[in-house]
Symmetry: C2
Subunit: 299 residues, 2 copies
């Protein structure tokens, strides 16, 4: 009988990945951790019963988060990564020669070590890069206290449940704004809105309380089931969706990137928001008929 | 203990939907059919163990197939639907006042009746529309024999396994071309390429054997797990991706459509092909470095 990893993210729906080999099962101070291997998806990491990343599709997520932000900014030298223990975000960030420093703050230092041992291909040597500062700790406390400043902030967190919920709320966003250089931008994972509508709506409202500009872009990740995943973004100065695709294309070529999923066309698609996500961001669905005005009544 | 519908599409991966109510289990002449209800996804249909459609996300698929083709064509009067027993494709096609006739040819007439009984919201009354010709039968035989001609052909089939495989091959495409009016276009479901690469590559080659132009566009469907689904297209005259989004927008507004997922921005995103799908269609990944030429050797 084959063994299966049954994801327990939703009560009414689950995905299951066949376990062809178990590499590790244990607990850190913060969470239950498992590493298994699957024929198609390769090695994969789960935290508290939820699939976080797989060797087979990690590049969809990491490339979508990193290159959208980095290429829209265009000249980021300093990058802050909150979460991201597996090192995939870090790996993509370090592809830019313009980057002088990348600080990674994941609350779970033990998890970083486990990822380096069991899914080394995901960080691809990024922790040995001399530009990397691996500073395990509480990301919310870090942005409240540090004197460092950043051009791009990437929040590669778990979903807004339990201790992670603070990473989706205004006080955290206010501190991110505090440590952001002029012209800076932040991007955060914001769930699969088909199943996690409220998470997107709530976090978007919190971002709008703090930043002059905020929104979300969308793209599918195979093992984050439910259609599009949303990435929330916020900035005081950069109108992210308005950066012309021609500019993105120029920067993409200039950076000499090789990507497995992302390209400038995909970048453009990120900002093509379907009718069912627009209202979650306070926008009218496209093509919806104008609401009928009630006929005036005499009193 | 909750009951679950475990999808058996892939040996190494499965999705499972909680069964909150079972409406029907049985067999037609062609396939094993189940209708269940799930709290989040509503009523859903499975054929031979594979989820076909759910009330909760059917609009992603039906709108993505129909409006892309119809708006790119721009003045379709006659539409042929191969498959599509649930009536969702038919419902979207009939939103166009320009359509005078929509012929639906699904091999499984019993299934059509079951869908009308158990998921009536998906057809939304489309089978009662006077423009509808419900002609249950073998789609491959229909296009080989009919004297009718069509502006748009939509192939809403199961995956290319068993008897459905002929709908992905050149002899079928040749007959589709035969029954197509000048300026016509066909669109076919072509699987989730993250898990079903070969299906896309193979069908694309078959389309290119027959039509002057062929390609694919992509979009995610929540319960067709694995990131993007691919829709194959083919035409002798219409360069589908080249239809300007401004034209699509004008036609979308003129048609007075209300859509839950699709809009002209989404249409544009359909043709933004990720690096990992491009090689399946014979295209180079964007941004990939030019292959190194082997140094010339003296003999």
């Amino acid at each position: 009988m084959a063994k299966w990893f049954d994801e327990t993210l939703y009560p009414f729906y689950r995905q299951a990945v066949r376990i062809d080999e178990t590499l590790f099962r244990g607990k850190t101070k913060f969470q239950k951790v498992e590493f298994h291997r699957n024929e198609r998806l390769g090695r994969f990491l789960t935290l508290d019963g939820v699939i976080q990343t797989t060797e087979g599709d990690e590049f969809y997520y990491h490339e979508s988060m990193v290159h959208a932000a980095m290429l829209a900014h265009g000249k980021a030298k300093s990058v802050l990564i909150i979460g991201g223990a597996d090192g995939g975000i870090l790996r993509e960030v370090l592809k830019y020669k313009s980057v002088k420093k990348a600080v990674l703050v994941d609350i779970d230092g033990e998890l970083i070590d486990l990822c380096r041992e069991y899914v080394p291909s995901i960080n691809g040597g990024a922790f040995e890069d001399r530009r990397t500062v691996n500073a395990p700790g509480d990301g919310a406390a870090y942005v409240a206290e540090t004197d460092e400043r950043f051009d791009v902030i990437l929040v590669d967190s778990t979903d807004p449940q339990g201790p992670g919920i603070v990473l989706f709320q205004a006080p955290f966003f206010r501190n991110c704004r505090r440590v952001m250089n002029p012209g800076g931008i932040m991007v955060t994972q914001n769930g699969v809105y088909f199943y996690q509508q409220q998470e997107l709506t709530d976090a978007h409202k919190h971002r709008l309380k703090v930043f002059k500009k905020a929104g979300a872009y969308v793209g599918p990740i195979p093992t984050y089931v439910g259609g599009h995943m949303a990435f929330g973004w916020a900035s005081d100065t950069l109108d992210f969706p308005a950066v012309p695709v021609a500019t993105i294309r120029k920067r993409y070529k200039a950076a000499g990137l090789t990507t497995q999923y992302y390209n400038p066309d995909v970048h453009q698609a990120f900002f093509c928001l379907p009718n069912n996500v627009r209202p979650l961001l306070g926008m009218k669905p496209d093509g919806a008929p104008a609401p009928r005005r009630a006929a005036k009544r005499k009193a």
